[in-house]
């Protein structure tokens, strides 16, 4: 391909590859799988938040006709490692000695129908010895608080680079602490002002419509085959291998379309129970949770963030010292990884001479918290961007000007040892400021109406994340793309296929993204961290370029030409004005049955000890946001008149898909800002179902909702692409809180900005 040629596939608002399947109801999900002889699993959960398990009597359940197996903790033998987790292996498949939250899994049943499994659960008797519950971060850290884990579970701390470190269980009820420091704290002494503020962040549930689900079977007694609604099949396979003490080539993980995840569907969820029941029964077992049970399985992290920021009179930021506490719930899940990211991202995309942060994962008797779109960045953007406006106000500066003065330049490292900023942050901020009418906002002031800005920020592409891809092309030019990026809605299969088509000079329709099966699919660490296009995209690009080179070399040999004089066009060799079909050339050489070209590609950011997280960040994901809001002082109700969000796609592979990522993320952020939260009364979740838990609906769209996909062209991915999907969520809540301050002079530092909270804040101020 001539690199200067116009892009033919990339950049077009084409139909996604999964469009016809999805609009016709033909796309297959894990929940649609039905196997001959398949049994159905259901789980019994604890209604007590914290208790020692004294005994379980499941004999009546086992005797119920149609019941094939009942799994309880005392039935798990030495042939299984009974707990799983990411860095810390603390979550049991079913409760072993204790239950740690209302909803903790106590037992599971496999039966011929869901109705029989439900009936069997009612026959299981459990005896508990109640322990004092730990409901919140404050509770967990108070003197004499009950401990969720009296002994430290097995865990690891990964290698960190310059300035970063972590420790397991630094104090009771804290399973992990991440630290980062750069520059001398002495610079605080030189600051004209040091501001200390505390922010509270509420907790949402992912609310994916397809529940956690897995269909498992044991083949020949020692091989596992599991289809699952999962974002990281290879990491899952590794963990299943550890739990079930099997080699990884005895475990086949298959992932069909995934009906939404937003972070939740990483690592073990429904799989261990489905697999264990399949082994106990010798039958395929389907374990699909109900939507309500999703609320009890994985959530976002509530957080308390304490920021101490040193600044000069002229608005120059000098130092940021942060203490973050994440409510991790009852099991560590991905909390240590979220802590790492929250701790790392809390400075925001600004220049400092000193940064110090610590981030604690605090265990409470509530549902386990894990990865959630934004991955700690939503929490830190909320605190950081709120405090930016607070500081600007205290200094008598314009918030936009204050940010402009301190933003990192294009190409400037985020911190020492890091990669350079790959977006022009000021250009993006100015763009959304103009779109919201920021510069004219004081011309015709309307009482209780205001405008706010925020710049959400996170490192994208994961840490130390390897990705492999393989491309095959048949004799007649049919393209097979094998890679492990899961189609979870984000359009990755279409985008990666478009990259292949572009490089091979083929129409997009020639590429088929092959079904994911860890037996055949090349390795990938997981579909998360906005890494599909930025990490896997690079592996796919390399594979495609390698394959293209092979084809041109092959043709050059056949034609007695030089490869650089040839081009590839819809499986023809373009040589000057001639277009020579490849198929006859291939069959002429390899025989009439033909042949396949095949090529692999690999990408991983290089290990680099000078980078705090051991590799430099792959790309920086930004979300520029602006809101024009009005508050009703009598009720505290905020109406968002206009919401503007913008991300930088670098190069949009498909602009419609990029737009959808930013808008979907922004509306999730809007829910978080205004009303959406898991409401706990002590340790009891009060709104754990779709009826009681309010998510944004079409009626909640702001009167004006503008999303702008920037294409600044500096990304590391194919054709300059950057990742998308999380950035749009990050700025929404702080932009609205900043607009509320602009409208009323009242700062609300806790989410959501619900009418009762806003009205109370207004009353306190007046």
């Amino acid at each position: 391909m001539n690199e200067s040629a116009r892009l033919e596939v990339v950049g077009r608002p084409a139909r996604r590859k999964d469009a016809r399947e999805k609009v016709r109801g033909k796309a297959g999900y894990t929940t649609d799988i039905s196997l001959p002889g398949m049994l159905h699993a259901k789980a019994l959960r604890s209604a007590i938040a914290h208790a020692r398990l004294v005994g379980i009597d499941a004999s009546a359940a086992r005797e119920l006709p149609g019941v094939h197996a009942v799994l309880t903790g005392d039935g798990i033998g030495d042939d299984i490692a009974p707990t799983y987790g990411y860095f810390i292996k603390d979550q049991p498949i079913v409760a072993l000695d204790k239950v740690r939250y209302e909803g903790d899994t106590v037992a599971a049943v496999a039966a011929e129908t869901e109705a029989i499994a439900d009936a069997a659960l009612r026959l299981i008797k459990v005896e508990y010895e109640e322990l004092p519950p730990v409901a919140s971060i404050e509770d967990a850290l108070s003197d004499g608080a009950a401990e969720l884990f009296e002994e430290a579970p097995m865990g690891i701390v990964p290698a960190y680079g310059t300035g970063a470190s972590a420790e397991l269980r630094p104090r009771p009820n804290v399973c992990y602490r991440f630290n980062y420091e750069t520059g001398s704290p002495d610079v605080f002494e030189t600051c004209d002002h040091v501001f200390e503020d505390t922010f509270h962040f509420s907790r949402m549930q992912h609310f994916h419509l397809e529940p956690f689900a897995a269909v498992a079977q044991w083949l020949d007694g020692d091989r596992i085959e599991v289809s699952t609604s999962c974002q990281n099949p290879f990491a899952l396979r590794k963990e299943l291998g550890r739990v079930f003490k099997l080699p990884e080539n005895s475990i086949s993980v298959r992932v069909p379309f995934v009906g939404g995840g937003y972070g939740s569907k990483n690592n073990c969820k429904a799989e261990p129970i489905a697999i264990l029941l399949a082994r106990m029964t010798g039958r395929p077992v389907r374990f699909a949770l109900t939507h309500d049970e999703n609320f009890l399985t994985n959530t976002q992290h509530a957080a308390v963030l304490k920021l101490k920021t040193g600044v000069m009179n002229d608005g120059t930021l000098v130092a940021r010292d942060s203490e973050i506490f994440l409510d991790s719930g009852a099991y560590s899940d991905a909390s240590p990884l979220v802590a790492e990211k929250a701790g790392y991202r809390i400075p925001g995309p600004y220049r400092y001479r000193h940064i110090r942060t610590s981030c604690d994962c605090v265990m409470t008797n509530t549902a386990p918290a894990g990865p959630f779109r934004g991955f700690g960045g939503t929490q830190t953007s909320w605190a950081c961007e709120s405090q930016m406006d607070m500081i600007a106000d205290r200094l008598g500066m314009d918030p936009l000007e204050f940010r402009m003065k301190n933003l990192i330049d294009l190409g400037e490292p985020f911190v020492p040892g890091e990669s350079g900023m790959d977006s022009d942050l000021r250009a993006g901020l100015e763009l959304v400021a103009r779109e919201i009418g920021y510069h004219d906002r004081k011309k015709n002031p309307v009482p209780n109406r205001g405008v706010g800005l925020a710049l959400g920020f996170k490192d994208g592409g994961g840490v130390n994340k390897p990705a492999q891809a393989r491309i095959k092309v048949s004799t007649f030019g049919d393209i097979f793309l094998h890679c492990g990026t899961v189609e979870i809605g984000q359009g990755a299969h279409s985008a990666l296929s478009a990259v292949v088509a572009e490089i091979l000079g083929a129409p997009a329709g020639r590429v088929r993204y092959m079904p994911i099966n860890t037996d055949h699919t090349p390795y990938d660490q997981g579909t998360n961290a906005s890494s599909a296009i930025s990490v896997m995209g690079q592996a796919v690009e390399r594979a495609a370029r390698s394959l293209r080179a092979q084809v041109l070399d092959f043709a050059a040999d056949r034609l007695g030409a030089e490869p650089q004089d040839l081009d590839l066009e819809d499986w023809h060799i373009r040589k000057g004005n001639e277009a020579l079909p490849l198929a006859p050339m291939i069959m002429g050489h390899f025989g009439g049955t033909g042949w396949e070209f095949t090529a692999d590609g690999f990408h991983k950011a290089e290990t680099d000890h000078s980078a705090p997280l051991e590799t430099q960040c792959v790309f920086w994901e930004l979300g520029w946001g602006a809101a024009d809001i009005e508050v009703d002082p009598d009720t505290g109700l905020i109406t968002v008149h206009k919401l503007v969000v913008s991300g930088d796609a670098g190069q949009a592979i498909n602009p419609l898909v990029c737009r959808g990522q930013d808008e979907g993320a922004a509306i999730m952020g809007l829910g978080q800002a205004l009303f959406e939260e898991m409401v706990y009364d002590g340790t009891r979740l009060m709104n754990g179902d779709a009826f009681a838990y309010r998510v944004p609906m079409a009626q909640d769209l702001p009167a004006e909702f503008v999303s702008i996909t920037q294409e600044q062209g500096h990304g590391p991915g194919p054709f300059g692409a950057k990742g998308m999907g999380e950035g749009g969520m990050l700025p929404v809540a702080p932009a609205i809180a900043n607009a509320l301050f602009d409208a009323t002079g009242v700062r609300v530092a806790a989410l959501p900005l619900s009418p009762p909270r806003v009205k109370a804040a207004l009353a306190k101020n007046s």
Partner: protein, 269 residues
């Protein structure tokens, strides 16, 4: 999820019911007879919206009595100074029903509750007998001083709408009709702008009746002279009117502010 009463265990929502017997009566009398004679009274089924939610929450269904085969209990009509609404009338049907206009604001209120899809199926009676604090018809009916008519094999029973919460076991009774007295100048304003935190119905015409509902609390009814200040009206709010989402202070202050607006809208007509 449904923490069973007293049980230390939590069961997953039931998606698939065990087999049950199905009754398909064609007359109210037949339906009432079945409710009275079966050893365990069947669960009544109409729009399905709430039944499926309660099944989901763990309610057992020994047998089901569908009301959709009945040929009556729909529509609305003005008779003897009352608006009588059939318990099986759907929200969609009522929101465009000409007789419902006898109470200005009522059709609009019923056309705003839930959503288009639910309004096609859900019935006004189902919304009441579900006795869920998050449902909204009881708030409207409290403000409108409505009465509920139940039929059972032992006869007819009338209940003030506000008493539905404390009426005890109604499993053998069938809600057939909702009656709203058409007092002079009766009109309704229903403010849902603060849902899900609180919603408020205000009925003018004679005594002013204001009903406030929240996610977790039974609606509070505040009534009195329409000449009272809005603050005075809310001074009658029960002392413990708090839930995990809001405080009594918030409800009383905000409710008074909403009432002032509602009075203005009612006065404008």
């Amino acid at each position: 999820m449904s923490p069973l009463d007293q049980s230390p265990n939590m069961l997953p929502p039931v998606r698939q019911l065990p087999p049950f017997r199905l009754f398909r009566p064609t007359t109210t009398a037949e339906a009432v007879g079945i409710l009275g004679s079966e050893e365990t009274p069947p669960i009544c089924y109409a729009g399905g919206t709430d039944l499926c939610l309660s099944v989901h929450e763990g309610r057992s269904v020994p047998s089901l009595l569908t009301l959709n085969t009945l040929d009556g209990l729909r529509g609305a009509e003005v008779r003897n100074g009352t608006l009588a609404i059939g318990a099986l009338a759907t929200f969609d049907e009522l929101s465009t029903h000409d007789q419902v206009t006898a109470i200005p604001g009522l059709a609009e209120a019923l056309g705003a509750i839930a959503n288009v899809r639910i309004r096609f199926r859900a019935t006004i009676g189902g919304n009441v007998v579900a006795r869920r604090t998050a449902y909204e018809v009881p708030i409207l009916l409290a403000a409108l001083d409505a009465r509920l008519v139940f039929e059972s094999s032992v006869g007819r029973r009338e209940l003030a709408a506000t008493d539905i919460w404390t009426a005890g076991d109604l499993d053998r009774s069938l809600l057939t009709e909702i009656e709203i007295p058409l007092t002079e100048g009766l009109a309704l304003d229903y403010d849902r702008t603060l849902r899900p935190w609180m919603t408020q119905a205000a009925a003018g015409g004679g005594t002013e009746r204001v009903a406030v509902g929240t996610r977790f609390l039974r609606p509070a009814l505040l009534s009195g002279d329409p000449g009272d200040s809005a603050e005075t009206r809310f001074s009658g709010l029960p002392g413990e009117f708090n839930d995990v989402l809001l405080t009594r202070d918030y409800v009383s202050g905000t409710g008074a502010a909403l009432l002032t607006r509602q009075r203005a809208r009612l006065a404008k007509g």
